[in-house]
Amino acid sequence: MKVNKSSFGIPYWVGAVLLGLLNTALFYVSSKPWGITTAMSFWGGEATKFFGTSPENWRFFAELQLAQAGGFQPLMAGTLLNAGLILGVFFAAFIHNEFRFRWPRHGKQYLAALIGGLLMGYGARLAGGCSVGALVGGTASLSLHGWIFGIFLFPGVWLGLKLAQKYLY
């Protein structure tokens, strides 16, 4: 079936405006900007309990619990948000006949994916948020760390592209 060239989804800027409005409404309702990786730290922290650790004593979680006392629980709220996001994407892709299982071409893509994920997760904890939490949420909250994060993503992306062009593409 022919795809209308101008109708392939919605334009980026319309998406950006709608995402900005949703982000604002989310902030209004939950008093916390959109973030993704904090919940993932909680998942991993829970998983390490199998090895006999006590993540609730880790400084990261202790500080977070202190800051969030009485409000939205970061674990539950973050998990629900992430789950909702995946479901929302699935719904959008499904009703527009775009969902399919997509398999990568080469085995080495899996390795690059795992390394990339590890770097992202660790970097997010160092900088205080991922590209959504720190760059969008932090900058929009008028925090300097959002700007610094956004600017220093460039050398990181450049380095990643060099590595990827050498080993991956």
Binding site: M1, V3, K5, R100, P104
Partner: protein, 82 residues
């Protein structure tokens, strides 16, 4: 006039556009390149790039989540007859 085919299934961005740009260099003006991809963002990426270069193109929805982009290297209007 020759037809070329590029299978980009299984790649995520920015690989599809890199491969497309590499491939298009091999083409002579008037040749047709047919690209198959499953990556929705790559479709738009390639469309934006083709618009910028002034290449005429068509996008077909082959099956769920698979697209075929047919583009012609050249500036003239592309009167396809598929």
């Amino acid at each position: 006039m020759a037809d070329y085919y590029l299978d980009l299934t299984g790649f995520v961005c920015p690989v599809p556009l890199i491969r497309t740009k590499e491939k298009i260099k091999e083409l002579a003006f008037g040749d047709i390149l047919s690209i198959k991809t499953e990556h929705p963002r790559a479709v738009r990426n390639i469309m934006d790039w083709a618009c910028h270069e002034g290449y005429s193109f068509d996008v077909d929805d082959e099956e769920n989540g698979v697209w075929r982009i047919t583009l012609r290297k050249g500036q003239e209007e592309y009167n396809e007859s598929q």
